[in-house]
Symmetry: C2
Subunit: 534 residues, 2 copies
Amino acid sequence: MYVKQTTARSDSLAQPDLFSSESHFGAIVPNKQPAELLPGEPIHHESVHGREGEGHESTEHGGIKVIKVDFEEVETPFIIALWIFCASLAKIGFHMAPKLSHIFPESCLLILVGLVIGLLLNYTQSVHVSPLTPKTFFHFMLPPIILDAGYFMPNRLFFNNLGTILLFAVIGTLWNTFSIGLSLYGLGFTGIFGGDVAEHLTLLPTLLFSALISAVDPVAVLAVFEEIHVNEVLYIVVFGESLLNDAVTVVLYHMFEDYATMGENQIDTMEIVKGIASFPVVALGGTAIGIIWGFLTGFVTRFTNHVRVIEPIFIFVMAYLSYLCAETFHMSGILAVTFCGITMKNYVQANISQKSQCTVKYAMKMLSSSAETIIFMFLGVSTIHDEHNANVWFIIFTILFCTVYRIIGTIVLSALANKFRLHKLGRVDQFVMSYGGLRGAVAFALVLLIKEEAVNKNNELRKMFITTTIAVIYFTVFLQGITIKPLVCWLKVKRAEKRKPTMNERIHERLMDHTMVVLESIVGQTGHYKLRDK
Amino acid sequence: MYVKQTTARSDSLAQPDLFSSESHFGAIVPNKQPAELLPGEPIHHESVHGREGEGHESTEHGGIKVIKVDFEEVETPFIIALWIFCASLAKIGFHMAPKLSHIFPESCLLILVGLVIGLLLNYTQSVHVSPLTPKTFFHFMLPPIILDAGYFMPNRLFFNNLGTILLFAVIGTLWNTFSIGLSLYGLGFTGIFGGDVAEHLTLLPTLLFSALISAVDPVAVLAVFEEIHVNEVLYIVVFGESLLNDAVTVVLYHMFEDYATMGENQIDTMEIVKGIASFPVVALGGTAIGIIWGFLTGFVTRFTNHVRVIEPIFIFVMAYLSYLCAETFHMSGILAVTFCGITMKNYVQANISQKSQCTVKYAMKMLSSSAETIIFMFLGVSTIHDEHNANVWFIIFTILFCTVYRIIGTIVLSALANKFRLHKLGRVDQFVMSYGGLRGAVAFALVLLIKEEAVNKNNELRKMFITTTIAVIYFTVFLQGITIKPLVCWLKVKRAEKRKPTMNERIHERLMDHTMVVLESIVGQTGHYKLRDK
């Protein structure tokens, strides 16, 4: 599909940054092959642009060449552009086969295409490009998707259900992590996973694994739920959970990785206190950074009325900066971008021109859609390259525990939430909530980042975690993703209403809101009305 | 403004690709300083994401830290985002001071801001970021600007004036290169440039320099001409010339660099023939690649009616791929993107949805506007870091020759063009055309790419070329850019009409066009009507 040159490269220049493979990830090491050059193709070490680098060549070949091929210097942008192009073509392809896309969600089809491409690349041994590195994923693909989610978050719905969402995101994730982790750890003693693994499957690596496998993935949830159109409350609860649980996952993952690296005997009370203190810091810190950048964006866009064309730039760049700021301080970047989007929206939409609004809206959708496309396709491609260690019982029990504990957690927490909710979560809702707990690329990126020190320096254990994570992702995305649509129909889950609220409804709703704030103030009670009201 | 860490880095990973400085450019070598770390800030060598890299740290510090700062891993995207942000803020700033922006064109102000930032960075010695590398410029900043130009090219006007544009772009550029080059070379014998330089200022390096200094810059021309609103014919002639002369400049630059590297005595007839053969290959090859990708885009967008959201992606990605394809084969990338835009426009606009059209339009304007902003700002910043060698006489005579030969060329070629033109180019038009021959970032990027082998291994000569190029750019952008607006007013140059043509006018125009094609067919003559008519 594209010409490749895996020649020896000079330092930083020729090595593509975005697609560079880091050897300590182990999982995605490209099989470097001897160069297969185009006939007569020159090899440059210092070439930077087409207008340069002929010096060597002409002295070698003794003259000017009328036509030259020099792929290496444009390699990185070329490959990125080509991936985006292929992914978009694949997406068109699905919609040309309506039967196919009726049964399979798009995410499944993209993974399948990725698998095929991965097999082809593997077969031709041209695995020069090792696509989904965790760095690429976290720095370039996740932010646009989350920004899109935050910016177009239905504020009203979100803050109405914030309590329930937080309950599931915090308590639910903690419950899942510890129940899955402890169960797997306990099961290890029975020897069912084989002697070699059982030996290294100590408590902390198991909890590290369960922390990353417990997180419901916003990208997967968005991809599946946007196609099945369940009612808004159900959607916001599942999707909100997948966004807000990021902080919990980050802290748990960090904590267990640190503990596992330190060794169990080094952990004292102080360490545990510090670990627990990280929760509010990471969560509130990320939220605060997001809100600050959101307000800043609102402020800056007040002054753009003479230079309308750069309004969208501010929105994208400042949201991205909020994400990077949060990541710099090891806060939750997802929370930062989500709240940056939520905060800026109202101000920005009032400040910027109609045309900029249109640009922002569709450019955001375009970016997030292409990022999502690439993530699922890369997930398929990466599957092929990974060094696998498939422990069938470990995979089966992980999937089993993931499913069972999610159902238990949902039932218990729903019962708790229903005590405070006006709109109760029924049996069917609870089922969809458990069933919609999809795992995805976040878990995959996190499992690739596990260092050997954290898994008792046992690379086999690391590989087993990687394989199991992929299996869980495939199970949830394929089996649950494909069956959720028929199930939702069969269970007669309340669907989303398509119509827009009339002007009259909106005015009354607004009036009721304000009245409620007043009433709450009089009664001395602060509920979610106050939070949402801006 | 941002924390920096210039610690020893592990190979390709930590070194930011986009901003990497290549030592053989000489001109933009950052003054690497010892690391100034934040207090207690950990140094990572392998850290990739916030979720990773705590291993070392915790073993060093003996535990979890609740708040961590880890800038290095998000450095590259952070710095890029910050540059864009600052550039956009600067742009807002100018419009807050209407008096300032009335006198100075925006490009001048941006260069000034860049100069100030460059001085600050130089003063604080935190020159970790060396922004405008030729690679960054050619791969990431130039394509969006040219695509914007090509996509919104007024086809009718462009093809109506194609003859004149080509005359100026090909013959004019050749004339400028050889007249400037030979004059400077001749002047070298008088010894006015000093003995040391005169010794190394042989014919081929001088011609190499004159080739890059002769090219009228599309970015600078766009920036200035969009503010002065001269009539369309004048605009399209100058701007079209700046686009189409790219092929000539690429060939001349390559050719003289190769010749200079080979040495004068090695050049035989064959080499010269091959050099001349490069002209049609580079020009027509680039155009052909652009047209092919343009048609492909038109074809692909026929099938996107179910997935409207990815329509803009195709347009951007495929245009970018046309640029990269052309660059791979050392064709003219600028011509490829220009013609890709021209070709795709008609088909794409009929195929894609109204919303996608809006997105494409404003996203393109946004991208090109920010690329332009950054180019001018970086031009200012880069000026400070360069190793300079200011030869006053060389600079003065280069500017003089640039101006004089451009005027002579314009007068002669206009006289030639007027023989075939219905709408004659008057004296005033000719003056604006000569005066609007601005030099800019393309010349700057090309001069940085000159290798030592091509300048008789004399680095002082290279530095002198760099300094002179910057001086010429500043002269044209500042002096000509600032004075062109009052001059245009004073000379009463016909301004652009703002109104849209009425429906009636458009129908009649279209009818006339088709009639003319028929008439031309009958007479057996093929004029520009046939070319344009699609």
